[in-house]
């Protein structure tokens, strides 16, 4: 599998150099050409920062303290200003969570698009305008010629997100970084935006790194998932494996906290995860998930947070594999009731939710 994007041992620090607060710790992740990779996790798990780091868009006082980011073998972190601008202009695009403030309120949307086209692709005025209208049409804006004359405040959230996607993909980048692109939208609009992303992937072979905290969004769209917790990637696998055979207790807990339509008849509280995620600067010995983990054992404090292969293209940061053990123990009687229900529940969820 040839990787388009290869992140290795990325670390993002805040705070002073003598007392750094590490928000992203030793993250390694790869995205192949044409692949949609989901990056899922709670707020503050470092997923957005990882995404921004790829574009080197981490502002002071944050900084990329260690690691490498390679795009087609070229080191993004070593690029000069000029090369970086080129990289951002042509090879990677980015869309954001909040479509309400991601377009400049004083410019008509057609003009913003045309500007990008003429700056980044060198199109002439008339050509750029024409192409802008085509792009708006391409992202499903009805009556694009007239809509191009609208200001952002005249459009709905979903439409604005479409315009944003048109803008980010105007110069046909091979990688789109989508930082929670559907979080601010209602569910119907969300589905349309995800369809659009899938279509862009199919039409142009564009790879997408999709950041979300919503497993529903991830399940619907992604080929592969990386689960982040406390600045670490704790598990990565293809989508079907995550649903049917999650290895890391955090992944399992996260999956169990997703509400299901099928359980609506028997109202049952979805299991939340007790406790709270670690705070920035909170140094935990061993596994970062230990304080909240249902399977925690004293020696978890000595576990090193690295991904270990547990199956084909499946890696987990938990060396104890309590879920695999539970699954085999479940065959015999007397397994913990909670674990049993949990394992059964997500086993059922898998086939339904995976497209």
């Amino acid at each position: 599998m040839s990787s388009l994007l290869e992140i290795e041992n990325l670390r993002v620090d805040f705070g002073t150099r003598s007392q750094p607060l590490t928000a992203v710790k030793d993250v390694s992740l790869s995205v192949a050409a044409g692949e949609i990779v989901g990056l899922v996790g709670e707020s503050g798990s470092g997923k957005s920062l990882t995404c921004r780091a790829v574009m080197r868009l981490i502002d002071q006082p944050g900084r990329i303290a260690a690691g490498t980011i390679a795009f087609e073998g070229r080191d993004v972190l070593a690029m000069s200003e000029k090369q970086l601008r080129d990289f951002r202009a042509h090879e990677a695009g980015m869309i954001y969570q909040d479509p309400f403030s991601s377009l400049n309120p004083v410019h008509r949307i057609g003009r913003q698009l045309a500007e990008t086209l003429s700056v980044n692709l060198g199109l002439g005025r008339a050509q750029a305008r024409e192409r802008a209208i085509e792009l708006l049409d391409g992202v499903g804006i009805p009556d694009p010629a007239r809509r191009a004359l609208s200001y952002p405040h005249e459009l709905s959230g979903g439409m604005r997100q479409r315009v944003m996607i048109a803008l980010a993909t105007a110069s046909e980048p091979r990688l789109l970084l989508a930082d929670e692109p559907t979080t601010a939208l209602d569910v119907t609009t969300q589905a349309q935006i995800l369809d659009l992303l899938e279509r862009l992937r199919a039409d142009r072979g564009m790879a997408v790194l999709l950041v979300s905290h919503d497993f529903g969004v991830i399940a619907r769209t992604c080929d592969r998932v990386a689960v982040m917790y406390g600045g670490h990637i704790v598990e990565t696998a293809d989508i079907a494996t995550i649903y049917t055979a999650a290895e890391h207790p955090y992944t399992r807990a996260l999956l169990q906290s997703v509400p299901e339509l099928s359980s609506a008849g028997h109202p049952r509280r979805r299991g939340g995860i007790p406790g709270r995620p670690p705070e920035l600067g909170e140094e935990l010995a061993g596994c970062v998930f230990k304080p909240r983990c249902a399977f925690a054992e004293p020696d978890c404090a000595e576990v090193e947070m690295t991904l270990r292969a547990v199956g084909p293209a499946h890696e987990s940061a938990c060396p104890k594999r309590p879920l695999a053990a539970a699954a085999s123990a479940r065959v015999g009687a007397g397994a913990g009731a909670g674990t049993d229900a949990g394992a059964g529940g997500s086993g059922k969820a898998g086939p339904e939710s995976v497209p």
Binding site: H90, S102, L103, N104, P105, V106, H107, L167
Partner: protein
Amino acid sequence: MSAVDLVPGAGAPIVPAPSPSPSTGSWPRRIARAVRGMPLQAKVGAGILLFLVLLAILAPLIAPYGQNQLDFANLLAGPSGRHWFGTDAEGRDVFSRTLYALRLDLAIILFVTYIPLPIGVLVGAAAGWYGGVVDAIVARIADVMIAFPFMVLVIAVIAIVGPGVEGVLIGVPIVAWALYARLARSEMLVMREQPFMLATKALGYTDRRAILRHAIPNLMRAALIYSTLDMVVNLLLLASLAYLGLGAQPPNAELGSIIADGQNTLLSAWWVATLPGLVVVLFGIGAGLLGDGLSDGRRHGGSV
């Protein structure tokens, strides 16, 4: 005009406007629509300012007498059909003098307000965008400018170039850019965190393009609103300097000097100082209403 375009009615409910493409049409129609959308107080304010500006421009046509035309038969005559604002101690028609004074004052005010504005906004925007050393230098220079007593600085400039309007034309912009720079800088610090400004980076735009084409059109709004206040301050400054004898030199009519002259006869002939004074007040009210109305639109519109 795009800044005005975005001003919705004050307190208008936020509904997804199904209006037929509200941002199209010819220029006059768009301006008319923008004016209709302004809050009432902004309309009233703009109306007052427009009225005063028209009076100033048309002064030579409207004024019944010349600004220095003497009428010894009517010294200190009260307001009447012949002399609407009465006459002063030299028998000059106060109404005519007020019109010419307005003409001179408005020209000076527009210059000293709107020349420093773009300079200050540009410098402040750059400081806010780049941060770090650039920001530290600009912010400190601006602080020094603002910390210095304004009036004293202008008087010092006048001491160098001699009494007259030149002192104002030079002295005020030296300081005023710092006010706009500071305003633009603080707005920029907020705005550069906005996703649409991050997007300019993610789209690979140059800093120059990001600042000039994307940030400044948004910053201008705050600067223009502030400038309505600044105009009033400048008018008062001009009047104060003339009152001290450092502004426009006699016999040129200037609001401050007319008021200063009229002060001697305030008890016997109130109109000489009072009526031009009311014109100053009217200008202040007009500019204040316009600024207030526009910033109301800004608050309710919440477009940035």
